[in-house]
């Protein structure tokens, strides 16, 4: 190959993970140095994930992009993103390919993954099994790092994350923290969401998150990665469904969630979703998941909360409310609600203990990733608002399959191409 394609965020193994958020990449001629230039075309050539391109940072990207590369090796920038609604199913099923313009052959290519959080009901068998293997490894029969996640979310720590305006930002960070822990085991994994207002019969099976027997004990296929699940020193899971597995849970619909507070609703109204559908999704079951103090014992917790987070992300996109300073995008916390103000760092990642904070801070700082600098080791509430970086800051390197990258109207009017390099 004589054209090198470089995409920032490449991990030490040379792998690249994209979402819907455009990333500024470069292409350069790496062949013999001659005078002149080479015209190439970039296109998506993978068998699964799709890619789109542009010369500027945009939400109107193109299936192909013409570039002229100087043959002295000068890097030529371009923007690349996952093609919305064409996520990868495995690493390497998305490929950016460079061909010489005018019918020439392939002169460069790079395999990547468009790593997206999907509806758990729609995961392929291999995607599901990779996820479960990573979750099982994280639990390691009660000896793994899942213990830290369990200890973060208890009755003793509930002030940090429930009953106030920081509910959604804190849980966004929490799900992302777990996702990065899973990705350290298998980087091709993203946390899927349980769309609780739709039937999800494939999820509640012995092959996936387990099937509840008549007594409420969760049963897995023999050899399943979660078959030896242990939390709090106790083996197994209890989960009794209070809804038909072929029906939605006992929650309001996505449309009704968006309607909380009326059509012009602000965050202050939208946060009523903490009660319904969030609380009602939890209490659509008997068993540990139905109570704050024990909910994380059930790994379904993270799929439930991925959906809560998806609803917030989708609401933010639909109403253009990714700017935390926008009075409709957030609501002020009471002065004594430490951890719920925009500029507050969030426990436990900030390591602060005692006083109004819990006595211990499990898990350490927020884990880094090669893909992005956000949200940093001690994230603040305000750092969790712009998942895809639509306002120009670094994205969180996660995305949902039904929440697109769309520039805010003000940026489009002012020229979206002036985004960060």
């Amino acid at each position: 190959m004589t054209v090198q394609i470089e995409i920032p965020g490449t991990d030490p193994q040379g792998r690249v993970f994209l979402t819907w958020a455009p990333v500024r990449a470069t292409a350069r001629w790496d062949g013999a140095s001659t005078s002149g230039s080479l015209d190439i075309v970039l296109r998506s050539a993978g068998t699964g994930g799709g890619l789109v391109f542009n010369n500027v940072r945009s939400d109107q990207n193109l299936p192909t992009l013409n570039l002229t590369l100087p043959t002295d090796g000068t890097k030529v920038p371009f923007w690349i993103a996952g093609e919305f609604q064409k996520p990868s199913a495995a690493y390497g099923d998305a490929v950016v390919q460079a061909t010489a313009n005018g019918g020439g052959g392939v002169v460069g290519s790079k395999s990547v993954m468009v790593r997206i959080r999907k509806n758990a009901q729609t995961l392929s068998g291999p995607e599901r099994d990779r996820l479960l293997a990573a979750v099982g490894t994280l639990n390691a029969q009660g000896q793994g790092a899942y213990r830290d996640f369990r200890e973060m979310h208890t009755n003793a720590t509930t002030r940090e994350m429930h009953g106030n305006v920081g509910f959604l930002p804190w849980h966004r960070a929490y799900v992302l923290d777990l996702e990065r822990a899973l990705q350290s085991i298998d980087p091709s994994v993203a946390v899927p969401y349980w769309r609780f207002d739709e039937p999800a019969p494939s999820l509640f099976t012995r092959d996936f998150i387990g099937e509840s027997d008549p007594s409420g004990e969760v049963v897995f296929r023999p050899g399943h990665a979660l078959e030896h699940w242990v939390t709090d020193g106790q083996p197994g899971l209890t989960r009794e469904l209070d809804f038909d597995v072929n029906s939605p849970a006992n929650v309001i619909s996505e449309a009704d969630t968006f309607g909380l507070g009326g059509s012009g609703s602000a965050y202050a109204s939208f946060m009523a979703m903490e009660g319904d559908p969030h609380g009602t999704a939890h209490t659509s079951f008997g068993g540990p998941i139905s109570r704050i103090g024990t909910a994380v014992r059930d790994p379904l917790f993270f799929m439930l909360h991925a959906n809560v987070d998806r609803l917030w992300a989708k609401w933010q996109w639909f109403k253009h409310r990714q700017n935390p300073q926008d009075s409709k995008a957030f609501a002020p916390a009471n002065p004594n609600k430490i951890g719920h103000h925009l500029a507050d760092t969030m426990w436990p990642w900030n390591g602060i203990t005692g006083n109004t904070r819990p006595p211990v801070a499990p898990g350490g700082p927020f884990p880094p990733t090669p893909v992005t600098s956000a949200p940093g080791p001690t994230p603040k509430v305000e750092d969790m608002f712009d998942m895809l970086g639509v306002r120009g800051g670094p994205p969180l390197a996660c995305a949902y399959d039904d929440v697109p990258f769309e520039l805010p109207p003000a940026l489009v009017a002012g020229g979206g191409g002036a985004g960060p390099g």
């Binding site: 109107q60 919305f84 293997a133 099982g136 490894t137 390691a140 029969q141 793994g144 509930t158 429930h162 009953g163 106030n164 007594s215 004990e217 296929r221 023999p222 050899g223 990665a225 078959e227 030896h228 709090d232 020193g233 106790q234 083996p235 197994g236 209890t238 209070d242 809804f243 038909d244 029906s247 939605p248 849970a249 006992n250 929650v251 309001i252 619909s253 996505e254 449309a255 009704d256 968006f258 309607g259 009523a272 979703m273 903490e274 009660g275 319904d276 969030h278 609380g279 009602t280 939890h282 209490t283 008997g286 540990p288 109570r291 704050i292 103090g293 024990t294 697109p404 990258f405 769309e406």
Partner: protein, 292 residues
Amino acid sequence: MDVKDYRQAYERELTAGSSRAKAAAPASAAAAAPHAAAIDEISRVPQERDQLPTKIPSLIATLRDQNVATPIRQAALRALRAVAFLAELFAPFRAEFLDALRQIAKPDTDQQLRQDALEILSAEKDPYAQDLLKKGLENEQDSLVPAVKALQFLRNDDHGNFVDIARDVFQKAQDVATKVAALRIMATDAKSRGLLEQLLQDKTQPQALRTLSATGLHFLDPQKFAEVAQKIILDKSDFEDIRATALGALANAPDHQHLFHDTAFIDAIKKLGSEGPLQNLHSAVGRFMSKL
């Protein structure tokens, strides 16, 4: 799809979807039908964040009131459980809520309501509820919920000392579900090690008990488990499912790294991958080999 087109399509979807009704719990749907309006009103409470300080006491009063129809009381309990997720907003009412639950944890209350009350109370490690559950296990005439539920609820207290009563139930119980629930309490108690080892190796035991014994023995004594598990995995006369279960346990835990360097064992596992139509075992082999 172009993002602007997607936005327009989603606007249409929201308009169409806003009238979709909340799903009703299937088991209670018929009984609840005559009370649909009252239940619907109650089910909206978790969304009414600003009104919770007045709505929560009203829900608790409904829950307590024996003259109110059971489906309405159940709806009140569902709503209270959901708003309990609002933590501090619910905290001022917590004591009253728990008191109401103690009030309905009685024989003359609807069975499901009684069971739900005992589940919540036991999750709070409520001594009154734990005492009721223990008495029910000791004497069937005093039981407010099935034994399997009583055991599950007692397990909510990970520091509760219910091993002796669970062992007693395990020995007397005839049905597998109750035995499993009892064994879950015993499974991480050091005194159960011998029983777990015996159950795991006993081919006449139900699969559910052998599976749970695998988890328990692994928890208590990983090295012993590995020793037993290797025999089971390679024993072609044993059931495929328990062989897959044993191999899955070895694949999952960090205690068995040495096995990944045991060439004889690895070769044997590779051969398992080519044994007959053993889907679960093959899947477990794949997961074990992926850890190499």
